[in-house]
Symmetry: C2
Subunit: 890 residues, 2 copies
């Protein structure tokens, strides 16, 4: 086996080697290759980090020698040596993985200094104070990062020294003070570090700060490797879905100094404005300062455009380098530089983080500038970021303290008076107040209250709880599962620790972060830019997947249309059975006679027809897929436990016997309909089989609404969708019944139209037998929410707050399968598509679960070859973009 190359000189790599050298290393190599002024150095590969970890945190065989050889070559090239008593080389040791994890990993600067080398540095620079300040910084940083010494010990020593000397600032300390501090620092290290943990430190019989630069280098490299596995780094990777197997590279680079007097400086800059995207250099610098001080914000920095005035030569060179880098990478660059005695050194370049707004503008501008083409521009935008642009936000300049943080369940921000029931929300809203609905968890019963509220806050439930899903559908901010909040619904008060929120108290929510604030935070409205529309239009040119909306009302439909929906992929009808219609529905369910039931059905027919007229009109000319009633009927009835408690209270209070008897009878009826697992019970098409009159009513309402609009000269395109089919005979039966009703209505109204009839594929058995079901369906819409629930045997309502967090933490699941479609579930979708098309090549295939609005899932659906995804109106831009990226990535 050929030996693996583990160490690369900067001159040996290039930008394409990101996976091997990490982002920083690859970019340093690329800049070196471009002939830019980069201090010399070498990179140890990311794979070596993983080797180290798997080797029980020991250097793999041969690494030490390879590092030593590269170090020697590099010393030779620089003409300096580490630890040299005359002109010592100092190096930085920095981490840098393939994916940026800012602030997560460890860095050591000024490595190579020792009691001997510091004297060399003092001599070489003629600046003893600088030399000892560098040394004390090195001891401080190395001991904290590598040896794990408590950093406060050093800070305390500095503070004591300043008190003794009667000075305020670090810079007021003299070279002698710093020499004394170095002595104190070495004592601290000797006292804090044990020979058991770091046997190598005991080389001279006494444990202390290492004077041997080889020991320093080796320990620093190990510390960087080890920092890959720190809890904070692991958490960060879990959050941003960065694989643990990538590892980090280690960059060892010659130090340059921005703190060698007024001809030296250091800074960070962007090639364009990361907030607005404007095409102008953006950034800060400090004269006579070490690099870390710019980021630390200790001193007031100067804007980058003043650099040319301060240091004309190096400033102009920097401008040229930045332009070159942007042109070369065709990306907005985020750079770090140091000017040492008027000589510019480039220390880092990478693609700059930017706001959604800036990302759009930069991509569009670069197209206009001829730097990239439209397809590239489309691929440059993170779809998830678009969400920022579509909801009101907290004013970025606002200052506030969060009471608690829940789940960021639906983006955007809201401010309003707290209310504790849906009815209170409606009343307050009717009086012109902005309200935030606060509930333990919401149910379909709370819908009118959610409509009336600016935002929703729950103490229970996950990102796909009822509150979260409905809020996202409505485009309303929602913070869900804020478990620290204890809600006393009866007394209308919520408690967070000692803080009480009473009805009417104003609170603010940020659904993008999960923050909950007592009091009002200033909001700023969303204003999608011109570039937003341009880039989405370019996306539309590239994508193959259609994007439809999940929308149940004319308002949602219009919004979806504005945001670019090509139709409605899921129009749920259960909301049409709630609110003021709930009583009619209850009358229907609990009717004692056919007449009573028929009367209730007739009333429902009328209102449903009007619902459909409104929705079809809003989507004129575009398809609207109407799902027939799906939830179990008992969801429309009273909660039996509450009813029984009410009855018992009535009995205790000696209530009216007839009333009690009536309520007992009602309770018996409700109990009779109760189910142990409603999710798997009498719902979906099973309702249609057991209660044909309900589906007949809905189909009639759809057909009548269609005929009415056709008579008006409109172009309605309804599609009827039968939910929860598990065997083909269900669809055969209901399709036949649906066709009969449709034919009746069309004949009676003298109207001609083909109404496609299809089904949801949301049960594993339906996917497995799609080659039977496909033969009697005009379309499939994959209901990936229920498919995920049944494939995993996970009840979404039950697991999100309970074991799912633990599962994610323990990496039993790589991510929440209700947010991003799981690979096993995707297999079922793919199987359903393939089998369905095998018997019916004309079958239209879509997906209407929550996953339709998740970029990664949209990629998967694109690969599977679906015709469209359907998602909440506010996720449509995101889905359009993700769909284009999916197509372009092929």
């Amino acid at each position: 086996m050929a030996a693996v190359k583990r160490v690369y000189d900067f001159s040996e790599g290039d930008a394409s080697m990101r996976d091997v050298l990490g982002g920083k290393g690859a970019n340093l190599a690329e800049m070196t290759r471009l002939g830019l002024p980069v201090p010399g150095g070498f990179t140890i590969t990311c794979q070596t980090c993983i080797e180290y970890i798997e080797n029980e945190e020991r250097f793999p065989e041969g690494l030490e020698e390879e590092v030593a050889q590269h170090r020697a070559e590099f010393e030779k090239a620089m003409g300096k040596r580490l630890g040299d008593s005359v002109d010592p080389l100092l190096v930085s040791v920095r981490s840098g993985g393939p994916v940026s994890m800012p602030g997560m990993m460890d860095t050591v600067l000024n490595l190579g200094l020792s009691d001997i080398a510091v004297e060399g540095l003092a001599r070489q620079t003629g600046d003893e104070r600088f030399a000892y300040d560098s040394y004390r910084r090195f001891i401080q940083m190395f001991s904290g990062v590598v040896l794990g010494v408590d950093k406060d010990r050093f800070e305390n020593a500095i503070t004591a020294m300043k008190q003794t000397r009667g000075v305020d600032a670090d810079t007021d300390l003299t070279a002698d003070d710093l020499k004394e501090l170095v002595g104190q620092f070495k004592d601290i290290v000797a006292a804090e570090v044990s020979a058991e943990t770091f046997p190598v430190l005991a080389s001279d019989g006494r444990v202390g700060f290492p004077q041997d630069h080889d020991v320093q280098l080796r320990l620093a490299i190990e510390a960087v490797f080890g920092s890959w596995n720190k809890k904070s780094a692991r958490d960060y990777r879990a959050l941003y879905r960065i694989p643990d197997t990538l590892g980090t590279a280690v960059n060892v680079q010659a130090m340059v100094f921005g703190n060698k007097g007024d001809s030296s400086a250091t800074g960070v800059a962007f090639t364009r404005d990361p907030a607005t995207g404007a095409k102008e250099h953006y950034g800060d610098f400090l004269v006579n300062a070490p690099g870390e001080d710019v980021v630390a914000g200790i001193r007031v920095t100067q804007p980058i455009d003043e650099l040319v005035g301060v240091l004309p030569g190096a400033g102009a060179e920097l401008d040229d380098v930045m332009d070159l880098l942007e042109e070369h990478s065709t990306a907005m660059c985020d750079i770090e530089f140091t000017i040492e005695r008027e000589k510019l050194w480039m220390l880092q370049t990478r693609t700059g983080k930017r706001t959604a707004r800036a990302a759009l503008k930069i991509a569009a501008d670069m197209v206009d500038e001829g730097l990239i083409d439209r397809e590239e521009a489309v691929c440059r935008i993170d779809p998830e970021q678009l969400d920022q642009l579509l909801h009101p936000q907290f004013d970025p300049t606002a200052d506030y303290e969060a009471l608690t943080r829940g789940l960021n369940a639906s983006p955007g921000a809201a401010v309003g008076a707290a209310v504790f029931s849906a009815d209170d929300a409606v009343t307050a809203e009717a009086h012109g107040r902005d309200v935030v609905l606060v509930r333990w968890e919401t149910t379909p019963d709370d819908l009118h209250g959610m409509v009336a509220s600016k935002g929703i806050l729950t103490s229970h439930g996950g990102k796909t709880s009822h509150a979260a899903v409905v809020a996202r559908g409505m485009g309303k901010p929602c913070v869900a599962g804020a478990e620290a909040i204890k809600i006393d619904q009866v007394n209308k008060v919520a408690r967070i620790g000692d803080v009480e929120i009473h009805e009417g108290d104003v609170i603010s929510l940020d659904g993008s972060t999960g923050d909950v604030i007592l009091g009002a935070v200033k909001l700023v409205p969303p204003k999608p830019s011109e570039e937003f529309s341009r880039i989405l239009e370019w996306a539309d040119e590239s994508r193959r997947l259609g994007v439809r909306a999940n929308a149940d009302t004319p308002e949602d439909a219009l919004r979806a249309r504005e945001l670019g929906a090509a139709g409605i992929g899921l129009c749920r009808t259960e909301h049409m059975f709630l609110g003021d219609r709930k009583q009619i529905v209850q009358d229907m369910i609990l009717a004692d006679t056919e007449e009573e039931r028929d009367a209730a059905l007739a009333r429902l027919l009328e209102v449903q027809r009007d619902d459909f007229v409104g929705i079809f009109r809003a989507m004129d000319g575009l398809p609207v897929t109407v799902r027939l009633l799906d939830p179990p009927l008992h969801e429309f009835l009273d909660d039996p436990r509450a009813l029984e408690v009410e009855i018992v209270r009535l009995e205790c209070a000696g209530g009216d016997a007839a009333t009690i008897a009536d309520k007992r009878a009602l309770l018996a009826r409700i109990d009779d309909m109760a189910e142990a697992n409603p999710m798997l019970g009498l719902r979906g098409c099973r309702l249609g089989i057991m209660h044909p009159e309900i589906y007949a009513l809905q189909v009639r309402a759809i057909a009548e609404a269609t005929c009415r609009l056709i008579a008006e000269g409109a172009d309605p395109k309804p599609e009827i969708m039968i939910p929860l089919v598990s065997v083909v005979a269900e669809l055969e039966t209901l399709r036949a019944e649906t066709e009969t009703v449709v034919a009746d209505v069309l004949a009676a109204e003298g109207c001609e139209i083909e109404i496609p009839i299809g089904t949801m594929i949301e049960l594993p058995r339906a996917a497995m037998t799609a080659d039977e079901i496909g033969a009697v369906a005009d379309f499939f819409s994959f209901g990936t929410n229920d498919l995920t629930q049944t494939a995993f045997g996970f009840s979404r309502d039950d697991i999100e707050g309970k074991f799912l967090p633990r599962y994610l933490e323990r990496k039993i699941l790589p991510r929440n399968p209700f947010e991003t479609v799981d690979a096993g579930v995707a297999q079922l979708v793919a199987m359903g598509c393939e089998r369905g098309r095998s018997v019916n090549p004309a079958l239209t295939l879509g997906v209407c679960g929550e996953h339709g609005g998740d970029p990664e899932s949209v990629h998967v659906f694109g690969e599977i070859g679906l015709d469209y995804v359907s998602c909440s109106p506010y996720r449509i831009p995101l889905a359009r973009l993700a769909a284009a990226q999916a197509a372009l990535s092929e």
Copy 2:
């Protein structure tokens, strides 16, 4: 396209043409081929019946001509003609499909008689009374069966005639009386039948009984075809799973008469005793009687062994024919014969229905006689029938009237005093009383009561409800879902209509039929015969599938072993958490401190270890697959609704404030654990991840029990099974934790043994990703109950009483997928096997759902290539037999 042959002369077919000619037609053809005395005739094929039905109940083109041609040939062969005035041919028209449906289909006898032909018959036989009796029988039967005339009208006319004549018996009526009756019968037909329904009957200008034998024949054939679609026939087929697409053949055959005086006779016989299987002819005959009188039981018949004495020639010939038939078919035959003036005619032969006991004896005897081999004997037994032999039965001679009928949920019969709670059952049993537990439905809480009872009766739940499943597991009779019974648990009374059953009233249940009887019905014990064991031993020689038992106690384990189990495939542990241990479990779940929890765990460890010692000892040398805890923890806690009602009542009654506060706190804890869909919630391996201490306790108990038995010199073979895995990481995690605990115990006890660790595959995602899961499992056990629930999205508890009956009735499902494994679910099992073996060829594959005891499912599992099925102890013989049949059918 060649014309389809729709009509076959008896001489054209043979026994192999059952699917075309029906059972009766094929057997008539076979007897004709063997040269036996069969009256001539022809058969219209089963496929023609389906053609007729699909052709809107009209003769397909060409059929009329084909029938006419065969009729002409057959008349020529017989030397007689239908409707002839001199020597008329009379025919029977009988149905006969590929699968016997006794009594379900229509028959017409004496067809061909008319006003003219009856005179010819009188002349030809010299017996005017016989001729007119035949004619009136024909009119009566034809009008009832073909024309739909109310049969009572004819019976009333006969009764009136007998009154007028002052006689008692039909046989006392004279030829003239019968002539007069024929006239009256024709008037009845003319009055009852309309020209609209039967236009053909109005041929001579007046609607009446048809005189044209072609019209008679055509209408009779149509009536037989039409009877295939009668509701009763459809229901019968649904019950016995006979496909609707088979159709029935129509057999048109020359009539012979057993009622032509004392040299004539008629009878039915079996070649062996259908009740005991004894090798002796068995049956009855009547001298001078038409065939239908034997079956109708109007007259007292003579035993068949007396026939030789009465009609020696024909009697001896019959004996020979029966022996020939049995030898030829190598099956016990059920035959019909008629002797017309000393001439024997064979009218029918078919394989005889027999009791389980007889079936076993006949099969075993036939092997001893060299008629069939052992493998054939094994295939001759219907596995479902074996169930009859393993449970006490109602005395077959007992006379009783059922109060109501529920579902036949667990076979066998029970008699005992009604009790309405599990505790009452235990108390009564302790006082030496036999009791039947009567509950709305049972829960795991009722287990001790079920153990104490002779049988279980529930008014709710299906064949796989808790009561049914547990009762079958215990081998106790259970009638479930007897919905007519209203149970008042509080007052300990059950009402069925006006009848009340109070505590202590003796009731009887037949779990094989679902009958519920007030009072005691005599029971007879099961005594499986010697042949039972012989045939099961032969089955064991042929089968490839292993058979294990689902058993949770030493008693069940011993019983399973006796019945031939090769191990325990599913030892559930949740029962070990109930009864007197429930309090400990509650203490564990609700513990406030680690100490309290650890104390409860320590107590549980001790009792669980003893449980396992008992089971492993009972199964010494055989594998015992222990499933770690599966149900959600809240199943072990109080019902929150009942608790809240209790609290409200306490509050009303001014109860102790501290008690109320405690109960409220408990309620809050329980509510916090509540789940919307417990079936899909925190259970199975999810418990193991969230509460590692519980699985650790169970694994420790298993390992310690194993070590103890090894120390005693025994040979325990435990296997540890992790339930409800959906992602491989669950199994990886729990396998590692299990291995750690096992290693700890083995090291501490100084004991060596390999304990295989495997998983249940009971979620669709697990089956889909079995190529990941298989790599970390030693075995898979398919939990087809949960797999069916999740693949279909069916909650078994919720659907069996609700929409499943409607689904079966409407044929949306061909059968209950919880009884016989569904094809879609079987696909998942097959996929799981294939993918699992693809990464781990050594993987052991079994199934432990209820389907393991269903013969048809066992076939499916055999084809998929599983290693074993596991089922309730009492289903083991059945599974052994079904497994052998599956292997032999390949």
